[in-house]
């Protein structure tokens, strides 16, 4: 396609917490500084900066892309904020990839931030107005409603029980025990999930990721620069993104078609023909436990309706054939929306470099993907990485 190869060469993540003392700018700075330090660069070396962050209503700062710029090292540089709802964090490195692949930048700092604790009494409130103001808002739906409708549709389509889905929460919260940034890592059982309070049937409290504050950052470099900086560049071999309609009456809620479309775009670019065989490790977005299964199927990592069975068999465990969310995911590490997506990209980066410490999966994976999803259950973003 006449575009340059782009590598991830450095990364940083703050702790994910319920309420950070740090401002959003300070969180952005901590992650940015960590990422630059990790690859021996300074801000002077950075040509361009991109920043991903979800709705302004979370932080309570309108135009927060501009507000956060100085913490993200964006001042007096070409800087731009991108935003695709919950899909933002995986779009972040895609946005940076455009800058480097096009030849406009040799080094691009990519930052993702969210400070959800500002939004009171709960960031849920910011979601009340994402619905159609005429046909839906007067019914006062909450975000959990729509997930509950989708989860039930998915369960019905494949004859799944709540226990089949709860295993994802058990796995991810357990995996997160080894993640230094984790907010809600816990050793729990399927019974614990089923016994947690029902918020909006079939969704119980332990089916859901928490609201969080946190930031993450990566440094992208062109091939020539990357090879000079590190012996272990991780290449961005495929990127994809796709959006479906917010008019959801015509959509099949049991299958995330937009994720498949985004995945096909990324796979075509990466030359992947059989994703279930060629992808060794994946971090699909898991804000709710059923979403991990839904997304595995949309990503064509398994046949439709099979993800729950594979999870029950341990296929997606950290030592399974296809480790899914070895980081602990949004369910375990926490869910500062944009930062979560980038945390997932960083997990694949570390795993492919063999630097994931106690979380390292066996078998020396060489190809992985991260995926995020958002807006009104309609946005898919996918990135394929290879060592």
């Amino acid at each position: 396609m006449g575009m340059r190869k782009v590598a991830i060469v450095g990364a940083g993540i703050t702790k994910f917490v319920r309420r950070a003392q740090e401002t959003g700018k300070e969180l952005s700075w901590q992650a940015s500084k960590m990422a630059l330090d990790s690859c021996g660069l300074t801000l002077d070396d950075v040509d361009m900066v991109t920043l991903g962050t979800a709705p302004d209503a979370f932080d309570g700062v309108h135009m927060k892309g501009e507000y956060l710029a100085d913490g993200a090292g964006g001042c007096r540089k070409p800087y731009m904020r991108h935003y695709v709802g919950g899909g933002t964090g995986v779009f972040s490195p895609i946005h940076g990839w455009f800058h480097v692949a096009s030849g406009m930048a040799d080094i691009c700092l990519v930052v993702a931030e969210e400070k959800m604790s500002s939004c009171h009494p709960h960031p849920q409130g910011a979601f009340l107005t994402i619905f159609d103001h005429t046909t839906e808002q007067p019914l006062k739906p909450t975000l959990i409603w729509i997930f509950a409708l989708e989860m039930n549709r998915y369960m019905q389509a494949y004859g799944l029980s709540k226990a089949d889905i709860a295993r994802v929460s058990v796995k991810n919260k357990g995996n997160a025990l080894d993640h230094p940034s984790a907010q809600v890592a816990e050793k729990i059982t399927v019974e614990d999930v089923l016994a947690s309070e029902t918020l909006c049937w079939p969704v119980n409290r332990l089916d859901i990721s928490p609201a969080s504050d946190g930031a993450a950052a990566v440094v992208l470099a062109s091939e020539r620069v990357a090879r000079r900086l590190t012996d272990k560049p991780v290449w961005i071999d495929g990127v994809g993104f796709s959006i479906d309609t917010a008019y959801w009456g015509t959509r099949d809620l049991s299958y995330p078609r937009y994720v498949e479309t985004a995945a096909r775009m990324a796979y075509d670019m990466a030359g992947i023909k059989e994703p279930a065989k060629e992808i060794h490790i994946a971090e699909p977005y898991d804000p709710f436990d059923y979403k991990e299964l839904h997304h595995m199927e949309g990503l064509m990592l398994c046949p439709r309706g099979e993800a729950a069975r594979l999870t029950a068999e341990g296929y997606t465990a950290r030592d399974g054939n296809l480790p899914i969310c070895p980081s602990g995911g949004a369910l375990g590490v926490g869910n500062p929306i944009a930062a979560t997506g980038l945390m997932k990209v960083i997990e694949i980066f570390l795993q492919l470099r063999g630097e994931a410490g106690k979380r390292q999966v066996p078998g020396k994976p060489t190809c992985g993907l991260a995926q995020a999803w958002g807006d009104l259950m309609q946005m898919g973003t996918v990135i394929v990485l290879r060592s």
């Binding site: 309420r19 950070a20 003392q21 740090e22 401002t23 700018k25 300070e26 700075w29 940015s32 500084k33 630059l36 300074t42 801000l43 002077d44 209503a57 309570g60 100085d70 913490g71 090292g73 001042c75 007096r76 604790s117 500002s118 939004c119 009171h120 009494p121 409130g125 910011a126 009340l128 107005t129 103001h133 808002q137």
Partner: protein
């Protein structure tokens, strides 16, 4: 309706009212915590300095936005500065007349690269000028809560 036509009856479309029901809890942040504690407890301003970039931030920043180095040594920069620029506000948000015009100024703090936006107090429209030396006037200590409103405004420098 063509775009060139003026829309004169804005009440014609049927509509209803709604609102976005959220409010906010903001933290001061690392540097903000130090800044407002110094105002509340000691009635003075703190700054941070990046020697490498030769810049002193007031209000303080926890990092230098030029090089991203951590700045964790807070220095007392005092409360005296000068008017860098100002504006005079005559009307309230609802368009009503203010009982007395208020002067809002950017005060550059002496010996630093930073500044604070606040009202001028005890300085008339006739007296105000760019470069005018001013000093912060704080509420009595017992009334200070750790916020920008602990400062009443900036007035003439006390000699």
């Amino acid at each position: 309706m063509a775009t060139t036509e003026k829309m004169s009856k804005t009440t014609t479309p049927t509509h209803w009212d709604a609102d976005i029901p959220v409010n906010y809890v903001y933290t001061y942040g690392l540097a903000g915590e130090a800044f407002f504690r110094a105002i509340k407890d000691r009635g003075t301003f703190l700054g941070t300095r990046c020697d490498a970039c030769d810049i002193t931030y007031v209000p303080p920043k926890a990092y230098c936005d030029r090089c991203l180095e951590a700045l964790d040594k807070y220095i007392d920069v005092g409360t005296v500065g000068y008017v860098d620029t100002f504006t005079v506000s005559f009307k309230n948000m609802d368009g009503s007349e203010k009982p007395r015009p208020r002067i809002l100024a950017m005060i550059k703090i002496e010996g630093t690269d930073g500044g604070i936006i606040h009202y001028l107090d005890g300085i008339s429209i006739e007296e105000v000028a760019l470069g005018l030396p001013v000093q912060a006037i704080f509420k009595p200590k017992a009334q200070r809560k750790g916020g920008i409103e602990d400062i009443i405004g900036f007035g003439p420098v006390k000699r």
